[in-house]
Subunit: 261 residues, 2 copies
Protein backbone atom coordinates (compact mmCIF):
# COMPACT_ATOMS: atom_id res chain seq x y z
CA UNK A 1 0.00 0.00 0.00
CA UNK A 2 1.48 3.37 -0.93
CA UNK A 3 2.40 5.80 1.83
CA UNK A 4 0.00 8.28 0.25
CA UNK A 5 -3.61 7.30 0.91
CA UNK A 6 -5.27 5.73 -2.12
CA UNK A 7 -8.24 7.53 -3.70
CA UNK A 8 -11.16 5.11 -3.66
CA UNK A 9 -14.34 5.47 -5.72
CA UNK A 10 -17.35 3.76 -4.12
CA UNK A 11 -20.54 3.01 -6.02
CA UNK A 12 -23.37 0.45 -6.05
CA UNK A 13 -26.67 -0.38 -7.70
CA UNK A 14 -29.02 -0.43 -4.71
CA UNK A 15 -28.81 3.36 -4.38
CA UNK A 16 -26.71 5.72 -2.30
CA UNK A 17 -28.66 5.23 0.93
CA UNK A 18 -28.64 1.41 0.90
CA UNK A 19 -27.10 -0.19 4.00
CA UNK A 20 -24.66 -2.17 1.82
CA UNK A 21 -22.92 0.89 0.38
CA UNK A 22 -22.92 2.65 3.76
CA UNK A 23 -20.99 -0.33 5.16
CA UNK A 24 -18.58 -0.33 2.23
CA UNK A 25 -17.95 3.42 2.63
CA UNK A 26 -17.15 2.97 6.31
CA UNK A 27 -14.59 0.26 5.53
CA UNK A 28 -13.00 2.31 2.72
CA UNK A 29 -12.67 5.31 5.05
CA UNK A 30 -10.24 3.19 7.11
CA UNK A 31 -8.09 2.63 4.01
CA UNK A 32 -8.13 5.72 1.80
CA UNK A 33 -9.73 8.96 0.67
CA UNK A 34 -13.26 8.17 -0.42
CA UNK A 35 -15.41 9.59 -3.22
CA UNK A 36 -18.93 8.20 -3.46
CA UNK A 37 -20.84 8.53 -6.74
CA UNK A 38 -23.88 6.30 -6.55
CA UNK A 39 -27.39 6.12 -8.01
CA UNK A 40 -30.05 8.29 -6.37
CA UNK A 41 -32.52 5.36 -6.61
CA UNK A 42 -32.32 1.56 -6.86
CA UNK A 43 -30.78 0.38 -10.15
CA UNK A 44 -30.68 -3.36 -9.61
CA UNK A 45 -30.48 -5.60 -12.66
CA UNK A 46 -29.63 -2.68 -14.93
CA UNK A 47 -26.64 -4.58 -16.31
CA UNK A 48 -24.24 -2.47 -18.32
CA UNK A 49 -26.91 0.09 -19.27
CA UNK A 50 -25.87 3.69 -19.82
CA UNK A 51 -28.09 6.75 -20.16
CA UNK A 52 -27.93 8.28 -23.62
CA UNK A 53 -31.52 9.39 -24.28
CA UNK A 54 -32.05 11.31 -21.05
CA UNK A 55 -30.19 14.05 -19.24
CA UNK A 56 -28.22 13.07 -16.13
CA UNK A 57 -28.31 14.83 -12.79
CA UNK A 58 -25.44 14.45 -10.37
CA UNK A 59 -25.63 16.46 -7.15
CA UNK A 60 -23.24 16.62 -4.21
CA UNK A 61 -24.96 15.69 -0.99
CA UNK A 62 -24.22 15.05 2.67
CA UNK A 63 -25.66 11.85 4.08
CA UNK A 64 -23.47 11.59 7.17
CA UNK A 65 -22.21 14.93 8.53
CA UNK A 66 -19.58 13.21 10.68
CA UNK A 67 -18.02 11.14 7.90
CA UNK A 68 -15.06 12.31 5.80
CA UNK A 69 -16.14 11.17 2.32
CA UNK A 70 -17.45 13.36 -0.49
CA UNK A 71 -20.71 12.07 -1.97
CA UNK A 72 -22.68 12.59 -5.16
CA UNK A 73 -26.09 11.13 -6.00
CA UNK A 74 -26.56 10.49 -9.72
CA UNK A 75 -29.83 9.99 -11.59
CA UNK A 76 -28.25 7.43 -13.91
CA UNK A 77 -27.16 3.81 -13.83
CA UNK A 78 -24.18 2.38 -11.93
CA UNK A 79 -22.11 2.54 -15.13
CA UNK A 80 -23.06 6.21 -15.58
CA UNK A 81 -21.85 6.82 -12.00
CA UNK A 82 -18.38 5.47 -12.80
CA UNK A 83 -18.15 7.54 -15.99
CA UNK A 84 -19.36 10.65 -14.15
CA UNK A 85 -16.88 10.15 -11.30
CA UNK A 86 -13.90 9.61 -13.55
CA UNK A 87 -14.55 12.07 -16.37
CA UNK A 88 -16.50 14.88 -14.73
CA UNK A 89 -15.98 14.95 -10.96
CA UNK A 90 -12.40 13.73 -10.57
CA UNK A 91 -11.11 14.29 -14.09
CA UNK A 92 -8.57 11.59 -13.22
CA UNK A 93 -8.62 7.90 -12.41
CA UNK A 94 -9.12 6.83 -8.81
CA UNK A 95 -6.65 4.23 -7.47
CA UNK A 96 -9.42 1.75 -6.81
CA UNK A 97 -13.14 1.36 -7.49
CA UNK A 98 -15.31 -0.75 -5.20
CA UNK A 99 -18.97 -1.45 -5.89
CA UNK A 100 -21.55 -2.79 -3.45
CA UNK A 101 -22.02 -4.28 -1.01
CA UNK A 102 -24.87 -5.61 -3.11
CA UNK A 103 -27.97 -6.86 -1.34
CA UNK A 104 -28.10 -10.30 -2.96
CA UNK A 105 -25.93 -12.70 -4.94
CA UNK A 106 -24.01 -11.77 -8.06
CA UNK A 107 -22.51 -15.23 -8.45
CA UNK A 108 -22.77 -17.34 -11.61
CA UNK A 109 -24.75 -15.81 -14.49
CA UNK A 110 -26.07 -13.04 -12.19
CA UNK A 111 -22.85 -11.18 -12.98
CA UNK A 112 -24.23 -10.31 -16.41
CA UNK A 113 -27.46 -8.71 -15.10
CA UNK A 114 -25.81 -6.99 -12.16
CA UNK A 115 -25.52 -3.22 -11.94
CA UNK A 116 -23.03 -3.68 -9.09
CA UNK A 117 -20.70 -5.75 -11.23
CA UNK A 118 -21.25 -3.63 -14.35
CA UNK A 119 -19.97 -0.61 -12.41
CA UNK A 120 -16.85 -2.59 -11.49
CA UNK A 121 -16.46 -3.75 -15.10
CA UNK A 122 -16.79 -0.17 -16.35
CA UNK A 123 -13.99 0.86 -14.00
CA UNK A 124 -11.96 -2.07 -15.33
CA UNK A 125 -12.54 -0.92 -18.93
CA UNK A 126 -11.11 2.44 -17.86
CA UNK A 127 -8.05 0.70 -16.42
CA UNK A 128 -8.99 1.20 -12.76
CA UNK A 129 -8.49 -1.78 -10.38
CA UNK A 130 -12.03 -2.71 -9.41
CA UNK A 131 -13.96 -5.07 -7.17
CA UNK A 132 -17.66 -5.80 -6.84
CA UNK A 133 -18.86 -7.06 -3.45
CA UNK A 134 -22.15 -8.86 -2.84
CA UNK A 135 -23.73 -10.47 0.21
CA UNK A 136 -26.10 -13.39 -0.30
CA UNK A 137 -28.93 -11.66 1.54
CA UNK A 138 -31.52 -9.58 -0.33
CA UNK A 139 -32.92 -8.05 2.86
CA UNK A 140 -32.53 -4.34 3.51
CA UNK A 141 -31.94 -5.48 7.11
CA UNK A 142 -29.07 -7.76 6.08
CA UNK A 143 -26.18 -8.03 8.55
CA UNK A 144 -23.07 -6.75 6.76
CA UNK A 145 -20.76 -7.09 9.79
CA UNK A 146 -19.41 -10.52 8.81
CA UNK A 147 -18.36 -9.10 5.40
CA UNK A 148 -15.97 -6.57 6.86
CA UNK A 149 -12.80 -8.59 7.55
CA UNK A 150 -13.02 -10.30 4.14
CA UNK A 151 -13.48 -7.00 2.31
CA UNK A 152 -10.48 -5.55 4.18
CA UNK A 153 -8.31 -8.55 3.22
CA UNK A 154 -9.32 -8.46 -0.45
CA UNK A 155 -8.88 -4.70 -0.81
CA UNK A 156 -5.48 -4.93 0.89
CA UNK A 157 -4.36 -7.60 -1.61
CA UNK A 158 -5.67 -5.61 -4.57
CA UNK A 159 -3.88 -2.46 -3.44
CA UNK A 160 -0.70 -4.56 -3.07
CA UNK A 161 -0.92 -6.64 -6.26
CA UNK A 162 -3.19 -4.65 -8.59
CA UNK A 163 -5.86 -6.51 -10.51
CA UNK A 164 -4.82 -8.69 -13.46
CA UNK A 165 -5.08 -6.60 -16.67
CA UNK A 166 -8.41 -6.77 -18.48
CA UNK A 167 -10.28 -8.12 -15.48
CA UNK A 168 -12.04 -7.10 -12.27
CA UNK A 169 -12.92 -9.16 -9.20
CA UNK A 170 -16.42 -10.45 -8.47
CA UNK A 171 -16.63 -11.18 -4.73
CA UNK A 172 -19.64 -12.90 -3.19
CA UNK A 173 -20.01 -13.46 0.54
CA UNK A 174 -22.21 -16.17 2.05
CA UNK A 175 -24.93 -15.25 4.54
CA UNK A 176 -23.18 -16.72 7.56
CA UNK A 177 -21.74 -15.50 10.86
CA UNK A 178 -18.09 -14.48 10.44
CA UNK A 179 -16.74 -17.44 12.37
CA UNK A 180 -18.63 -19.87 10.13
CA UNK A 181 -17.01 -18.50 6.95
CA UNK A 182 -14.16 -20.83 6.01
CA UNK A 183 -12.04 -18.38 4.00
CA UNK A 184 -11.64 -16.91 0.52
CA UNK A 185 -11.71 -19.13 -2.56
CA UNK A 186 -10.71 -18.22 -6.13
CA UNK A 187 -13.39 -19.63 -8.44
CA UNK A 188 -14.82 -19.71 -11.91
CA UNK A 189 -18.34 -18.48 -12.72
CA UNK A 190 -20.77 -21.41 -12.36
CA UNK A 191 -22.63 -22.36 -15.51
CA UNK A 192 -26.15 -21.60 -14.30
CA UNK A 193 -29.22 -19.78 -15.60
CA UNK A 194 -32.64 -18.46 -14.61
CA UNK A 195 -35.85 -20.21 -15.57
CA UNK A 196 -38.33 -17.42 -15.96
CA UNK A 197 -41.92 -17.58 -14.92
CA UNK A 198 -44.05 -14.59 -15.81
CA UNK A 199 -46.69 -13.69 -13.24
CA UNK A 200 -49.59 -12.60 -15.48
CA UNK A 201 -52.09 -10.11 -14.07
CA UNK A 202 -54.70 -7.63 -15.19
CA UNK A 203 -54.82 -3.90 -14.51
CA UNK A 204 -58.07 -2.47 -13.06
CA UNK A 205 -58.65 -1.25 -16.65
CA UNK A 206 -58.41 -4.81 -17.99
CA UNK A 207 -55.01 -4.69 -19.66
CA UNK A 208 -52.71 -7.67 -19.22
CA UNK A 209 -49.36 -7.08 -17.58
CA UNK A 210 -46.57 -9.25 -16.26
CA UNK A 211 -44.07 -9.46 -13.45
CA UNK A 212 -40.79 -11.11 -14.29
CA UNK A 213 -40.06 -13.85 -11.77
CA UNK A 214 -37.87 -16.88 -12.00
CA UNK A 215 -36.00 -19.75 -10.46
CA UNK A 216 -32.21 -19.94 -10.38
CA UNK A 217 -30.99 -23.24 -11.81
CA UNK A 218 -27.40 -24.36 -11.29
CA UNK A 219 -26.57 -27.48 -13.26
CA UNK A 220 -22.83 -27.00 -12.81
CA UNK A 221 -21.50 -29.61 -10.39
CA UNK A 222 -17.90 -28.36 -10.47
CA UNK A 223 -16.22 -27.80 -7.11
CA UNK A 224 -14.24 -24.90 -8.58
CA UNK A 225 -17.31 -22.68 -9.10
CA UNK A 226 -18.52 -19.66 -7.14
CA UNK A 227 -21.80 -21.42 -6.40
CA UNK A 228 -19.96 -24.39 -4.86
CA UNK A 229 -17.74 -22.13 -2.77
CA UNK A 230 -20.69 -20.14 -1.43
CA UNK A 231 -22.75 -23.25 -0.68
CA UNK A 232 -19.75 -24.60 1.23
CA UNK A 233 -19.14 -21.55 3.38
CA UNK A 234 -16.44 -19.73 1.41
CA UNK A 235 -16.22 -16.19 0.10
CA UNK A 236 -15.95 -16.58 -3.69
CA UNK A 237 -13.63 -14.45 -5.84
CA UNK A 238 -14.05 -14.73 -9.61
CA UNK A 239 -11.72 -12.83 -11.96
CA UNK A 240 -14.20 -11.34 -14.43
CA UNK A 241 -13.23 -10.18 -17.92
CA UNK A 242 -14.77 -7.86 -20.48
CA UNK A 243 -13.15 -9.20 -23.61
CA UNK A 244 -16.20 -11.27 -24.53
CA UNK A 245 -14.49 -12.98 -27.48
CA UNK A 246 -14.83 -16.76 -27.36
CA UNK A 247 -11.25 -17.07 -28.62
CA UNK A 248 -11.38 -20.87 -28.63
CA UNK A 249 -14.08 -20.83 -31.33
CA UNK A 250 -12.31 -18.63 -33.85
CA UNK A 251 -10.60 -21.58 -35.51
CA UNK A 252 -13.86 -23.55 -35.74
CA UNK A 253 -15.73 -20.61 -37.26
CA UNK A 254 -12.96 -20.17 -39.81
CA UNK A 255 -13.84 -23.63 -41.13
CA UNK A 256 -17.42 -22.54 -41.94
CA UNK A 257 -18.26 -21.77 -45.54
CA UNK A 258 -19.24 -18.14 -45.02
CA UNK A 259 -17.75 -16.91 -48.24
CA UNK A 260 -18.94 -19.68 -50.57
CA UNK A 261 -21.20 -18.57 -53.41
CA UNK B 1 -31.42 -26.65 -42.98
CA UNK B 2 -34.23 -28.93 -41.72
CA UNK B 3 -37.09 -29.75 -44.11
CA UNK B 4 -39.42 -28.23 -41.52
CA UNK B 5 -39.15 -24.46 -41.46
CA UNK B 6 -37.17 -23.17 -38.48
CA UNK B 7 -38.93 -20.99 -35.92
CA UNK B 8 -37.04 -17.70 -35.74
CA UNK B 9 -37.36 -15.15 -32.95
CA UNK B 10 -36.53 -11.60 -34.08
CA UNK B 11 -35.83 -8.77 -31.66
CA UNK B 12 -33.77 -5.58 -31.46
CA UNK B 13 -33.05 -2.57 -29.28
CA UNK B 14 -34.07 0.29 -31.57
CA UNK B 15 -37.74 -0.58 -31.16
CA UNK B 16 -40.21 -2.64 -33.17
CA UNK B 17 -40.80 0.00 -35.87
CA UNK B 18 -37.11 0.72 -36.61
CA UNK B 19 -36.09 0.17 -40.25
CA UNK B 20 -33.32 -2.23 -39.16
CA UNK B 21 -35.67 -4.78 -37.60
CA UNK B 22 -38.17 -4.44 -40.46
CA UNK B 23 -35.36 -5.43 -42.86
CA UNK B 24 -34.31 -8.34 -40.64
CA UNK B 25 -37.92 -9.59 -40.42
CA UNK B 26 -38.24 -9.52 -44.21
CA UNK B 27 -35.08 -11.62 -44.62
CA UNK B 28 -36.16 -14.11 -41.93
CA UNK B 29 -39.56 -14.54 -43.60
CA UNK B 30 -37.65 -16.05 -46.57
CA UNK B 31 -36.06 -18.62 -44.26
CA UNK B 32 -38.49 -19.62 -41.52
CA UNK B 33 -41.57 -18.95 -39.44
CA UNK B 34 -41.06 -15.65 -37.69
CA UNK B 35 -42.07 -14.42 -34.24
CA UNK B 36 -41.18 -10.82 -33.45
CA UNK B 37 -40.99 -9.71 -29.80
CA UNK B 38 -39.33 -6.32 -29.69
CA UNK B 39 -39.32 -3.21 -27.50
CA UNK B 40 -42.18 -0.74 -27.99
CA UNK B 41 -39.67 2.14 -27.76
CA UNK B 42 -35.93 2.64 -28.33
CA UNK B 43 -33.79 0.73 -25.82
CA UNK B 44 -30.31 1.47 -27.10
CA UNK B 45 -27.38 1.08 -24.71
CA UNK B 46 -29.53 -0.76 -22.17
CA UNK B 47 -26.94 -3.53 -21.96
CA UNK B 48 -28.15 -6.65 -20.19
CA UNK B 49 -30.76 -4.77 -18.15
CA UNK B 50 -33.94 -6.58 -17.13
CA UNK B 51 -37.12 -5.12 -15.68
CA UNK B 52 -37.73 -6.26 -12.12
CA UNK B 53 -39.17 -3.17 -10.42
CA UNK B 54 -41.86 -2.38 -12.97
CA UNK B 55 -44.65 -4.34 -14.59
CA UNK B 56 -44.17 -5.40 -18.20
CA UNK B 57 -46.67 -4.99 -21.01
CA UNK B 58 -46.47 -7.18 -24.07
CA UNK B 59 -49.19 -6.74 -26.68
CA UNK B 60 -49.71 -8.46 -30.00
CA UNK B 61 -49.84 -5.97 -32.84
CA UNK B 62 -50.00 -5.85 -36.62
CA UNK B 63 -47.48 -3.54 -38.26
CA UNK B 64 -47.66 -4.98 -41.76
CA UNK B 65 -51.00 -6.57 -42.69
CA UNK B 66 -49.48 -8.33 -45.70
CA UNK B 67 -46.59 -9.98 -43.87
CA UNK B 68 -46.78 -13.47 -42.34
CA UNK B 69 -45.00 -12.90 -39.02
CA UNK B 70 -46.62 -12.63 -35.59
CA UNK B 71 -45.50 -9.57 -33.65
CA UNK B 72 -45.53 -8.42 -30.04
CA UNK B 73 -44.41 -5.03 -28.72
CA UNK B 74 -42.98 -5.20 -25.21
CA UNK B 75 -42.53 -2.35 -22.73
CA UNK B 76 -39.27 -3.84 -21.42
CA UNK B 77 -35.67 -4.15 -22.49
CA UNK B 78 -34.32 -6.36 -25.31
CA UNK B 79 -33.41 -9.03 -22.73
CA UNK B 80 -36.97 -8.91 -21.33
CA UNK B 81 -38.24 -9.47 -24.89
CA UNK B 82 -36.25 -12.69 -25.25
CA UNK B 83 -37.44 -13.97 -21.85
CA UNK B 84 -41.03 -13.03 -22.69
CA UNK B 85 -40.89 -14.74 -26.09
CA UNK B 86 -39.40 -17.95 -24.79
CA UNK B 87 -41.17 -18.38 -21.47
CA UNK B 88 -44.55 -16.71 -21.99
CA UNK B 89 -45.46 -16.46 -25.68
CA UNK B 90 -43.85 -19.59 -27.17
CA UNK B 91 -43.37 -21.65 -24.02
CA UNK B 92 -40.62 -23.39 -25.99
CA UNK B 93 -37.28 -22.47 -27.48
CA UNK B 94 -37.18 -21.05 -31.00
CA UNK B 95 -34.65 -22.65 -33.39
CA UNK B 96 -32.82 -19.36 -33.84
CA UNK B 97 -32.82 -15.86 -32.38
CA UNK B 98 -31.66 -12.90 -34.46
CA UNK B 99 -31.36 -9.39 -33.05
CA UNK B 100 -31.03 -6.17 -35.03
CA UNK B 101 -30.25 -4.92 -37.53
CA UNK B 102 -28.86 -2.36 -35.13
CA UNK B 103 -28.55 1.21 -36.30
CA UNK B 104 -24.86 1.68 -35.43
CA UNK B 105 -21.78 -0.35 -34.55
CA UNK B 106 -21.65 -3.01 -31.87
CA UNK B 107 -18.02 -3.84 -32.54
CA UNK B 108 -15.25 -3.82 -29.91
CA UNK B 109 -16.34 -2.80 -26.39
CA UNK B 110 -19.73 -1.60 -27.70
CA UNK B 111 -20.86 -5.21 -27.35
CA UNK B 112 -21.07 -4.74 -23.58
CA UNK B 113 -23.39 -1.70 -23.73
CA UNK B 114 -25.51 -3.01 -26.56
CA UNK B 115 -29.14 -3.98 -26.11
CA UNK B 116 -29.02 -5.71 -29.49
CA UNK B 117 -26.17 -7.98 -28.44
CA UNK B 118 -27.54 -8.48 -24.92
CA UNK B 119 -30.73 -9.91 -26.46
CA UNK B 120 -28.60 -12.34 -28.48
CA UNK B 121 -26.56 -13.20 -25.37
CA UNK B 122 -29.76 -13.84 -23.38
CA UNK B 123 -30.91 -16.26 -26.09
CA UNK B 124 -27.48 -17.90 -25.90
CA UNK B 125 -27.80 -18.31 -22.12
CA UNK B 126 -31.08 -20.11 -22.80
CA UNK B 127 -29.31 -22.42 -25.25
CA UNK B 128 -30.81 -20.87 -28.40
CA UNK B 129 -28.45 -20.29 -31.38
CA UNK B 130 -28.29 -16.52 -31.64
CA UNK B 131 -26.84 -13.76 -33.79
CA UNK B 132 -26.76 -10.00 -33.35
CA UNK B 133 -26.53 -7.91 -36.53
CA UNK B 134 -25.42 -4.28 -36.68
CA UNK B 135 -24.83 -1.84 -39.53
CA UNK B 136 -22.24 0.90 -39.05
CA UNK B 137 -24.76 3.64 -39.77
CA UNK B 138 -26.67 5.36 -36.97
CA UNK B 139 -29.13 7.05 -39.33
CA UNK B 140 -32.79 6.08 -39.33
CA UNK B 141 -32.47 6.47 -43.12
CA UNK B 142 -29.62 3.94 -43.27
CA UNK B 143 -29.54 1.71 -46.36
CA UNK B 144 -29.89 -1.88 -45.14
CA UNK B 145 -29.96 -3.42 -48.65
CA UNK B 146 -26.22 -4.24 -48.73
CA UNK B 147 -26.62 -6.20 -45.47
CA UNK B 148 -29.06 -8.71 -46.92
CA UNK B 149 -26.80 -11.20 -48.76
CA UNK B 150 -24.40 -11.36 -45.79
CA UNK B 151 -27.18 -11.92 -43.29
CA UNK B 152 -28.60 -14.70 -45.49
CA UNK B 153 -25.17 -16.40 -45.69
CA UNK B 154 -24.52 -16.20 -41.96
CA UNK B 155 -27.99 -17.42 -40.96
CA UNK B 156 -27.68 -20.31 -43.44
CA UNK B 157 -24.36 -21.35 -41.89
CA UNK B 158 -25.75 -21.09 -38.35
CA UNK B 159 -28.80 -23.19 -39.23
CA UNK B 160 -26.42 -25.76 -40.76
CA UNK B 161 -23.68 -25.78 -38.08
CA UNK B 162 -25.35 -24.45 -34.94
CA UNK B 163 -23.48 -21.92 -32.85
CA UNK B 164 -20.54 -23.08 -30.73
CA UNK B 165 -21.81 -23.90 -27.20
CA UNK B 166 -21.70 -21.05 -24.71
CA UNK B 167 -21.41 -18.38 -27.40
CA UNK B 168 -23.40 -16.24 -29.81
CA UNK B 169 -22.28 -14.38 -32.92
CA UNK B 170 -21.71 -10.62 -33.04
CA UNK B 171 -21.95 -9.52 -36.67
CA UNK B 172 -21.10 -5.98 -37.77
CA UNK B 173 -21.51 -4.77 -41.33
CA UNK B 174 -19.57 -1.83 -42.79
CA UNK B 175 -21.44 1.11 -44.31
CA UNK B 176 -20.52 0.32 -47.90
CA UNK B 177 -22.27 -0.62 -51.13
CA UNK B 178 -22.64 -4.41 -51.41
CA UNK B 179 -20.05 -4.76 -54.16
CA UNK B 180 -17.45 -2.91 -52.07
CA UNK B 181 -17.77 -5.36 -49.16
CA UNK B 182 -14.91 -7.85 -49.42
CA UNK B 183 -16.45 -10.75 -47.52
CA UNK B 184 -16.98 -12.13 -44.03
CA UNK B 185 -14.11 -12.26 -41.55
CA UNK B 186 -13.98 -14.10 -38.19
CA UNK B 187 -12.47 -11.72 -35.64
CA UNK B 188 -11.77 -11.06 -32.01
CA UNK B 189 -13.26 -8.07 -30.15
CA UNK B 190 -10.88 -5.10 -30.51
CA UNK B 191 -9.48 -3.76 -27.25
CA UNK B 192 -11.02 -0.28 -27.40
CA UNK B 193 -12.89 2.05 -25.07
CA UNK B 194 -14.89 5.27 -24.94
CA UNK B 195 -13.44 8.50 -23.61
CA UNK B 196 -16.39 10.26 -22.09
CA UNK B 197 -16.99 13.93 -22.24
CA UNK B 198 -19.97 15.22 -20.29
CA UNK B 199 -21.82 18.11 -21.90
CA UNK B 200 -22.74 20.21 -18.86
CA UNK B 201 -25.85 22.43 -19.11
CA UNK B 202 -28.33 24.20 -16.92
CA UNK B 203 -32.10 23.72 -16.80
CA UNK B 204 -34.28 26.83 -17.12
CA UNK B 205 -34.67 26.46 -13.33
CA UNK B 206 -30.91 26.66 -12.83
CA UNK B 207 -30.13 23.04 -12.01
CA UNK B 208 -27.02 21.50 -13.58
CA UNK B 209 -27.51 18.50 -15.81
CA UNK B 210 -25.33 16.51 -18.18
CA UNK B 211 -25.46 14.72 -21.50
CA UNK B 212 -23.19 11.70 -21.81
CA UNK B 213 -21.06 12.07 -24.93
CA UNK B 214 -17.76 10.51 -25.84
CA UNK B 215 -15.13 9.58 -28.35
CA UNK B 216 -14.41 6.00 -29.35
CA UNK B 217 -10.73 5.19 -28.95
CA UNK B 218 -9.25 2.06 -30.52
CA UNK B 219 -5.68 1.46 -29.46
CA UNK B 220 -5.70 -2.13 -30.71
CA UNK B 221 -3.59 -2.39 -33.85
CA UNK B 222 -4.25 -6.12 -34.39
CA UNK B 223 -5.35 -7.16 -37.87
CA UNK B 224 -7.49 -9.91 -36.37
CA UNK B 225 -9.95 -7.52 -34.69
CA UNK B 226 -13.48 -6.55 -35.65
CA UNK B 227 -12.44 -2.90 -35.92
CA UNK B 228 -9.70 -3.78 -38.41
CA UNK B 229 -12.05 -5.93 -40.48
CA UNK B 230 -14.72 -3.21 -40.65
CA UNK B 231 -12.21 -0.48 -41.49
CA UNK B 232 -10.94 -2.69 -44.29
CA UNK B 233 -14.30 -3.45 -45.88
CA UNK B 234 -15.19 -6.79 -44.29
CA UNK B 235 -18.24 -7.96 -42.38
CA UNK B 236 -16.91 -8.92 -38.91
CA UNK B 237 -18.10 -11.99 -37.01
CA UNK B 238 -16.98 -12.29 -33.39
CA UNK B 239 -17.92 -15.37 -31.34
CA UNK B 240 -19.10 -13.79 -28.09
CA UNK B 241 -19.24 -15.64 -24.79
CA UNK B 242 -21.07 -15.13 -21.52
CA UNK B 243 -18.81 -17.05 -19.19
CA UNK B 244 -17.04 -13.91 -18.00
CA UNK B 245 -14.44 -15.81 -15.97
CA UNK B 246 -10.89 -14.72 -16.74
CA UNK B 247 -9.77 -18.36 -16.47
CA UNK B 248 -6.14 -17.48 -17.20
CA UNK B 249 -5.93 -15.45 -13.99
CA UNK B 250 -7.17 -18.08 -11.57
CA UNK B 251 -3.68 -19.50 -11.00
CA UNK B 252 -2.21 -16.03 -10.40
CA UNK B 253 -4.94 -15.11 -7.92
CA UNK B 254 -4.35 -18.36 -6.07
CA UNK B 255 -0.84 -17.11 -5.30
CA UNK B 256 -2.21 -14.06 -3.47
CA UNK B 257 -2.21 -14.12 0.31
CA UNK B 258 -5.96 -13.78 0.78
CA UNK B 259 -6.13 -16.07 3.74
CA UNK B 260 -3.09 -14.87 5.69
CA UNK B 261 -3.80 -13.52 9.17
Amino acid sequence: MPAKKPLILVTNDDGITAPGIRTLISIMNEIGDVLVVAPDSPQSAKGHAITISEALYCDEMVIDKNAPQTEYACSGTPVDCVKMATHEILKRKPDLCVSGINHGSNAAINVIYSGTMSAAVEAGIEGIPAIGFSLLDYSLQADFEPCKPFIRKIVKQVLKNGVPKGSVLNVNIPKLPEKSIKGIKICRQANAHWEEDFDKRETPMGRTYYWLTGKFVNEDKGEDTDEWALANGYVSVVPTQFDLTAHHYIQELNSWEFNEK
